[in-house]
C-alpha cells in the first residue's frame, strides 16, 4: 500500500491507499511513529482505503491512543460506506471521532 503524509503546522494528514490488513498495517504502524512526533492532531483520510481488517483497525486504535498520550487527538475523515460498516460492526464507530462527509 502507499501512504501519503502531509504536515500543516502541527496537523498531520495521513492518506493510506489500498488494503489495510495484517500485511500492510505493520508498515503504517512503523511509518506513523516518526511522523506523529510534535503533532497535535492526526487526520486519517480513508478515502482510498478499500478494505480494513482487524489488524488495520488496531493501527487506528493505536494511533488514537498514541495521540491521546501526547495530549493530541485523531479523527477519521472520508471513510467510505464499506469502511463505516466495518467500524460499526466492530463497535468502533463511536469509539473514534469520525467526521461525516454529509
Amino acid at each position: 500500500m502507499t501512504i501519503d503524509f502531509e504536515k500543516d503546522g502541527t496537523t498531520l494528514t495521513v492518506r493510506p491507499e489500498g488494503i489495510l490488513d495484517s500485511v500492510t498495517a505493520p508498515e503504517l504502524d512503523e511509518q506513523m511513529v516518526p511522523q506523529i512526533e510534535g503533532m497535535n492532531e492526526v487526520i486519517l483520510d480513508l478515502a482510498k482505503v478499500e478494505y480494513i481488517s482487524s489488524a488495520g483497525l488496531r493501527v487506528l486504535v493505536a494511533t488514537d491512543q498514541a495521540m491521546e498520550k501526547r495530549g493530541g487527538c485523531m479523527k477519521i475523515i472520508h471513510a467510505g460506506p464499506y469502511i463505516l460498516k466495518i467500524l460499526d460492526m466492530t463497535g468502533l464507530l463511536n469509539a473514534f471521532t469520525v467526521v461525516s462527509d454529509k
Binding site: E30, Y51, S53, S54, V59, V61, T90, G91
Partner: protein, 303 residues
C-alpha cells in the same frame, strides 16, 4: 523478506462473530458496541499496576477476538447468537482484572486468600498477586459492573464471567463451572467458548502485540522484561490456518530462538488441552492440530 500473510489474506474469516451478532442479534450487538467505546479507555488502566508489561489494552482484546474468528473458521456458523455475544464480550473483558482499581482490589482480594498467598510468597508484591489471580479479579469485576456493561440477564453474566475466567488456570472439564446453559433462543456451551478464548489468548504473541506507536522498548532495564518483549519482537506474525498455527519468526538475536521454541511448546500444550475440551465437552471442534515455527529468511541470509 518472505511474505507472511496471515491465513491466505483471510477476508472470508474476518469479523465472523461480529457479523453474525450484528445480523442476528442487533440488540446484543449494540450492547457490545457501547462496551467497546468505554473499554477502549478502561482497559488502559493495567498500566497502573504493570507499567512495563506487554500490551493488555483494547488492542489485545481485538487481537484475541480476531484469533477467535480464525480458530473457529466454519465452526462459527454453529454458534448461537448468544454464544457469539458471550465470546466477543469475553474477548474484551477477560483481562479487565489486570487494571483493577485499588478500591476494588482491596474489596475482592481476601476472597482469593491474599493473606495465605502473601504468607507463602513474602518476596512477591501485590501486582504479582493480581497477575496470578487476574482471571478471578476479571470475574469479580464483570459481575459487579454487569449493569454498566449492560449484560442483559443472569445466564449471560454467568457465561461471560466463566468464559472470561476460563482464559487461564480454570478447569474447563468441570461441568459445574462450565455447563451447557439452555437459554430461550439456543444454548451457551461455556466450556467450548472458554477453550477457544484460552487458545486465542495464548497465541497473541506476535510483534504487533506491542505496536511501535505505543511501546518504547529502549528504556527497559529488567532482564525478564527485555526477554519478554524480545520474544514478542522475534515472532513477527502468528498465522492461524485451518489445521495449524504458524509462528513466523525473525529472531531479534540468536539467543531468542530457544525462548521462541519454549513459547511454541507452551502454545502446543494449550492447543492440546483446548482441543480435548472441545471434543469431550461439546459437539464442536478446534480444528488446528499443530504448532510450527517458520524462520523468516531475509535478503542478507546466505543462499
Amino acid at each position: 523478506m518472505e511474505s507472511n500473510k496471515q491465513n491466505g489474506g483471510g477476508r472470508g474469516n474476518d469479523f465472523l462473530l461480529e457479523k453474525r451478532l450484528r445480523t442476528e442479534a442487533p440488540d446484543l450487538h449494540r450492547r457490545v458496541a457501547d462496551c467497546v467505546t468505554v473499554l477502549k479507555q478502561t482497559l488502559k488502566s493495567y498500566e497502573t499496576w504493570f507499567p512495563f508489561f506487554t500490551d493488555h489494552s483494547v488492542l489485545h482484546s481485538m487481537d484475541v477476538l480476531e484469533f477467535c474468528n480464525r480458530i473457529l473458521g466454519d465452526q462459527a456458523e454453529k454458534l448461537s447468537p448468544q454464544e457469539c455475544y458471550v465470546l466477543i464480550m469475553s474477548c474484551y473483558l477477560h483481562d479487565i482484572g489486570m487494571g483493577i482499581s485499588e478500591k476494588d482490589y482491596l474489596f475482592f482480594r481476601d476472597q482469593l486468600d491474599w493473606p495465605g498467598w502473601h504468607a507463602e510468597h513474602p518476596e512477591r508484591d501485590e501486582a504479582q498477586f493480581i497477575r496470578d489471580y487476574h482471571q478471578d479479579f476479571s470475574g469479580f469485576l464483570i459481575r459487579k459492573y454487569a449493569d454498566v456493561l449492560e449484560i442483559p440477564d443472569e445466564d449471560l453474566i454467568f457465561a461471560i464471567v466463566q468464559v472470561s475466567r476460563g482464559h487461564r488456570k480454570t478447569d474447563l472439564f468441570d461441568p459445574a463451572a462450565y455447563p451447557d446453559l439452555q437459554v430461550p433462543d439456543g444454548v451457551i456451551r461455556t466450556a467450548y467458548l472458554a477453550a477457544v478464548l484460552r487458545l486465542a489468548d495464548e497465541i497473541d504473541m506476535g510483534s504487533d502485540r506491542n505496536p511501535e506507536l505505543l511501546f518504547d522498548l529502549s528504556g527497559l532495564t529488567e532482564q525478564k522484561d527485555i526477554d519478554n518483549f524480545g520474544v514478542h519482537e522475534s515472532i513477527r506474525t502468528v498465522e492461524v490456518r485451518e489445521d495449524r498455527i504458524i509462528l513466523h519468526v525473525l529472531p531479534k538475536e540468536p539467543r531468542f530462538i530457544p525462548l521462541v521454541e519454549e513459547t511454541a511448546e507452551k502454545i502446543l500444550k494449550t492447543l492440546e488441552y483446548c482441543r480435548k475440551t472441545a471434543s469431550d465437552r461439546s459437539g464442536l471442534r478446534i480444528q488446528q492440530e499443530k504448532v510450527e515455527i517458520k524462520i523468516i529468511r531475509t535478503e542478507e541470509d546466505p543462499a
